[in-house]
Symmetry: C2
Subunit: 311 residues, 2 copies
């Protein structure tokens, strides 16, 4: 469906319920909240589904739009949700419309507005809001900036395109407070997170002369740092900062003693092939798996498999 | 002078020598190298002054343009140099033209192209190259992307404006390889740097219930991490990551035992007022000074002065 058609359809509906995806990130929360505000501005009743998985970092952006107890809505829109299994529990088969940018979108919704060339769902919602209301208000620009900027790591990730930068520029023109938002989203971290990063960088291990960087995060480390789930945002990205590492591995000891593994790589290594051995999966350059063993044992098993797979 | 006038003047000159500033950053190196390449494309002889202070991070961008031994040039252009004291030694009074974006530019050059509203000098050089040659080639776009992106921390710093993002978008359209450049400029760090960051985050101290964050970097730490000057890029920015800190302090023990201090703050604290007590200076939100004492003693002196100045 085209943006203009989607806007017309939305104009004909009312009582919107907007869904964010599991493990909500800035794109799903910012996009859904911006759309919610714009729909209200167009005279509609609109709320965000109360997704309890929204973390402290993004909760304040969603808070003013969360549905009251008992609100079910009559037109359900999934925002930035690539597949039905990523919907909050109970919404399978109940989505009326999907706005998304994931190339892997399964087309589960009866009607969709999907633009797989966009780095963020926020860029699609931005166009939709303009088609709906003719303009973007500063509060919406802030929420859309959250969506656009977080999905590309503040324009540093490989998905950043000229269009991404132009969308952000337009949001600044519409009044987005990038200065305050950047500090909040990308700059400031909790003292517990800093302490944990201290342990991570001090304890980083290297194999194959530095081609492999290895971070282990144990329950003891989390306790010592006072770190909770909210402090672990993108923690698996840290191992990859090491110069010379083609494969970076983050092993997180779970509360039940298992080891959850995250792999990131440059194109010369296939992460998904390695993770598949342990029943995991993902992409060639980013994959994950869980090994039912203690960190020390899981590390040895993993390195042995890597020796087999990556000659 | 307007961009079009500057382009006309440059077209009438030959044998350019382009100067980068002391403690060269990505903006001065990227801007000068891009301009150098564009001048050559316009049929001119042009070289960068061999600034020995260019660090390993930026050296590869400057290398192909560095002047051969004995080259003096006939038209000397200072690029991104705000004041004569920031010129390489021996160039006082010898600059013919200055291209710059610093609002504090002292107007030391007989002719100048200055746009203080720009976040980077790269954005000015970009317009100048278009006026000179009608287009920007991919190699120039890469160099200009280095200039624009590094001066705003990849679009995260407070100086990032809509125009900054649009300039970057245009450079991507011209063929800049932002993906590779971002990894190189903002993502990868040396193993020594990671080890040092581990020590920094583990040893971070807090005062006034967390309103002040304090990082001490001793010569012993540098030795233990194997860190050299190249590994210390923007190291004073780390203390400010601590959530809740309104004033962040980085103290670096020098080889001669003195303590070099860098202060960063939110608007409620005036860094320059604190540093002025020790004969230093800077801006309200970023200033520096040197205290002729050991780290431990300098820290006490500094905290005492802060107690006086910041009630």
């Amino acid at each position: 469906m085209k943006t203009s058609e989607a806007a017309k359809l939305f104009a004909s509906k009312d009582d919107f319920l907007l869904l964010t995806h599991r493990n909500p990130d800035g794109d799903t929360v910012g996009s859904a909240a911006a759309l919610c505000r714009a729909l209200r501005r167009a005279g509609k009743t609109a709320y965000l589904f109360r997704n309890d998985e929204i973390t402290a970092k993004y909760r304040p952006f969603a808070e003013p739009y969360l549905a009251p107890e008992g609100y079910a809505g009559r037109f359900t829109v999934a925002v930035d949700v690539a597949a039905e299994k990523l919907l909050p529990t109970g919404f399978s088969g109940k989505v009326d419309f999907c706005v998304d940018h994931h190339p892997s979108n399964t087309g589960y919704a009866p009607k969709s507005l999907i633009a797989p060339s966009k780095a963020s769902c926020g860029e699609i919602v931005m166009q939709l809001i303009k088609a709906l209301n003719g303009s973007i208000e500063p509060e919406e620009a802030d929420l859309l900036y959250v969506a656009v900027s977080t999905d590309c790591g503040c324009f540093v990730y490989a998905n950043t395109k000229a269009d991404t930068l132009r969308a952000a520029a337009e949001l600044l023109d519409c009044g987005a407070h990038n200065q305050e938002l950047n500090v909040r989203l990308f700059r400031k971290v909790s003292r517990a997170r800093m302490k944990l990063e201290g342990m991570i960088f001090s304890g980083m291990e290297y194999y194959r002369g530095g081609k492999i960087s290895f971070v282990t995060i144990t329950q003891d480390m989390l306790r010592a740092a006072g770190a909770v789930e909210d402090d672990l945002d993108d923690i698996s990205g840290l191992a990859g900062r090491a110069e010379g590492a083609a494969l970076s591995i983050t092993l997180r000891e779970q509360e039940n003693g298992e080891s959850r593994i995250s792999l990131r790589s440059s194109p010369e290594v296939d992460c998904s092939e390695i993770c598949a051995v342990f029943g995991g999966g993902g992409h060639a350059m980013a994959a994950g798996c869980t090994i039912q063993s203690s960190p020390e044992k899981a590390k040895r098993m993993l390195l042995d498999v890597i020796d087999e797979v990556w000659k």
